[in-house]
Amino acid sequence: MKWLWLLLLFPFIAFAEEKAALDYNDFARIPILHEGRIKPLDSFARVSLKKIYGKTSLPDASADEWLAEALFAPARAMQQPIFTVRVPLVISMLALPSRDDALYSFQEMAGAFALHQQFMAALIAKDRKTLSPDEQELIRLYENINDFAEIIGTFSLLLPMPEVDDAMRAELGVSSDAVVTYADMLKIRHGIATELAEVVKRKGDRLNDYTPHEQRLAKASYRMDALEAMGSGNTLLRVMPPAWGGEEWLSPWMVLEKGAGSPASLVLLHEWQNLATAYNKSDALAWKQASEKLRMAPGNVRPLALSLEVAYNAINPLGLALGAYGLGIALAIIGMLLRKQIVMRAATGVVLVGVASHGVGIAARMLILLRPPVSTLYESMIFVSLVTAAFGLWIERKRQNGEGIFISGITAGLLLIAANVFAADSDTLEVLVAVLNTNFWLATHVVCITTGYGASLMVGMLAHLYLIKRALGKNELEALQRRMHRVALVALLFTAVGTMLGGIWADQSWGRFWGWDPKENGALLIVLWLIWLLHGRIAGQLEDLGFAVGTALINMVVGLAWVGVNLLSVGLHSYGFTDIAANGLIAFCVAECIFVTVTTAAIKLRERHIHA
């Protein structure tokens, strides 16, 4: 509960109210070690703001602007209503005033939580999974408050100390109007402590008995103690690169505590101080100079990757792709209704742009993280999305009647949306657990099998199309059946090879080719399903309709194999557990079953009519 100190320490530090137009370009690219990797401040700001506020920017400020205010003008930042409370019950639990937008400031939240310290301590000790939704929300808010407290306390060692008088300034050797910070006061720390000890020995500890100088002495000492208490454990903003070897970047407070200071770190801290001063004076030039120096400081191992990541955050190529797919679908529908070829071509063009943006996004991620593309659940989803979009374009190239755009646009778009739901509040550019470290077999396995999933979804969508068309009474569906057959073969190729590659990787890592792990079983299920469909078709047990129904259901199988097994939380493949996913998956399966039943019934009705 160290952030309680903040409520006492900061309120009476006044700062200028205007926010000048500062250039955040360099500030965004300053490196920070967070969650195991070096990332630009921009990513840290966005992720933190998303956790607290729910979006990566405020209505009147970008994430970078928000972070700068929190770092350099903490008193102001504490009063901004940015904490989103998602569960209404919690508002009354914390005795917060009810508001339409459910946004509260740090000051309000910290004050509210201060009254329930014991309760929160008990709550934290329990297992997360056993808590009710409102209890989980309480913990989430509590963690957000702690994170925010660490952010605003990062540079508290560079903040002016108001209890400094001329005697102390004389000891420090600075002029009477110079700003003195905690870091400066460290130089006379020992002297102050000794002097204060003597005062206490002589006069006791009643402040009223002290001279003004002695009072200042006591307050300065108290404040330094308080700052240190708050500073220890302030580990979030690791912007100081390791000066003495190793890979662990440190926060400014950690540098002091661990004795990791060096001439280089001193220089850096001075620059941060310049940055803070420039911010509070709205000095655009000084701000630019300081932020440029910080960005280019030694320890910045891959400046291009940082710039790329900032660009990735800003441009959001995956979001662009999603928009393009949506627009493509709309245009395709219009084109199909109006039967205008040019609209269809426009739709294809739009989706092409989307696929290009999508591909660039994935390539950018590869360059930022220096690893092959499909390493987490989020990444597998966006990769399969790309595969289906590309497949759709390929199909569209053959037929040019909008069907390819339509089915791939829907699938790719839904997958991107689902991926965002899975990403939730976390940084999607995350590091991997040990066993997933790059390895030839692993990389080829996941790329291959997710391509197979994409192809399977495509053939499933083609089957959907077939069922719809046949239910609507269209004939001339032989070409579509042939295409389904071919795409099914492609899907079988990728999934079968991918599954076997997975087995080889497992043999290299764990000593067994096959372990009946849920994810392995899921992949095998898809392979068997495809084998069954294809053999049934070739041998004649499955007629056109049967083949189409079986193929349409493959979407469900892929969904269960891919997402469903994660929800089982068993085995080596589980990435995480989420309720939204479970409900979404069930809804999806139900919808698919209904679709297949309805279309089949419609077809049977229509064709019984014909046969009769």
Partner: protein, 278 residues
């Protein structure tokens, strides 16, 4: 000589008449090779897969593995249903029958034949593993050596993936000794999430001694045994490495199967496109 000799021209039934045996064999093969067999076997296998996977959550990996994937028969009350082994055996036989009936192979079929052969190889490999594979573990602290492997009986996961206690059953002796020089668990900087596990060992084999490194995804292979970096145990601050020791005679077969599969599929495509051009 009384009643034995028949007229020489009358047809005799000789039990080992190769022609009739061959005909009976072909009938059997045809029955096995019927596509309906696969058509009904596969859905049931898929059912077992699905049920077995879900069951893992409730009865654990080991139990569900035995029940759903490791048995010939699955008893539902008094009713015996085919288990995974039976189905896989049936499928394997069906495949072999198909291959036998396709003799002599034509060039056009080469791709498909190879693809199916690869599946047979895979299944045979699976059979060998099921019959023969030995798996155990070794726990070493820095400076310690061992040549005894403890067999897994039923792993008890306590606390999470990283720490578990195992109930050992049998022990086996290795023909060599492993000494742990240094175990390194490196975390992602600033976090407590493991980035890689590294065991620096010295192998003592007969009169020879040499250094080796066993890390995640990079096992040590020696005398038919393979040693993997499985995990580690944190015993009051002291890190002990856990190495998995596997002996699997059929380990090469899956690699062979995938190679055959790739060749088979590529060949099939080449043949198809040649045919399309002709």
């Amino acid at each position: 000589m009384g009643g034995g000799a028949l007229p020489a021209c009358a047809p005799r039934f000789r039990p080992y008449d190769s022609g009739i045996m061959r005909a009976k064999l072909i009938v059997l093969l045809r029955a096995l090779a019927r596509p309906t067999l696969l058509f009904y076997a596969l859905p049931w296998l898929m059912c077992l897969l699905a049920l077995g996977t879900v069951a893992q959550r409730y009865i654990g990996l080991y139990q569900s593995q035995n029940l759903f994937f490791g048995s010939f028969l699955l008893w539902v009350g008094p009713v015996p249903l085919p288990g995974a082994y039976s189905l896989l055996a049936l499928i394997a036989l069906s495949l072999l029958a198909n291959l036998a009936l396709s003799l002599p192979f034509t060039r056009a079929q080469a791709g498909i034949i190879l693809t199916h052969v690869s599946v047979v190889i895979l299944l045979v490999g699976g059979l060998m593993t099921a019959l023969d594979r030995q798996e155990g573990y070794m726990v070493l602290g820095e400076g310690e050596s061992a040549h005894t492997v403890f067999d897994y009986q039923q792993p008890d996961f306590v606390g999470g993936q990283d720490r578990y206690s195992l109930k050992p059953s049998a022990t086996r002796e290795l023909p060599f000794t492993i000494r742990l020089k240094h175990f390194d668990k490196s975390d992602y900087p600033g976090t407590s999430m493991a980035r890689s596990y590294d065991s620096d060992v010295v192998v003592k084999d007969g009169g020879l001694e040499w250094n080796a490194s066993i890390t995640m995804n990079h096992p040590l292979r020696l005398h038919g045994y393979t040693l993997y970096q499985s995990s580690f145990i944190d015993k009051d601050g002291r890190l002990l490495t856990v190495l998995a020791v596997v002996k699997n005679v059929g380990w090469l077969l899956p690699y062979l199967a995938i190679a055959t599969l790739c060749v088979g599929l590529l060949l099939h495509l080449v043949i198809l496109s040649a045919r399309r051009r002709a």
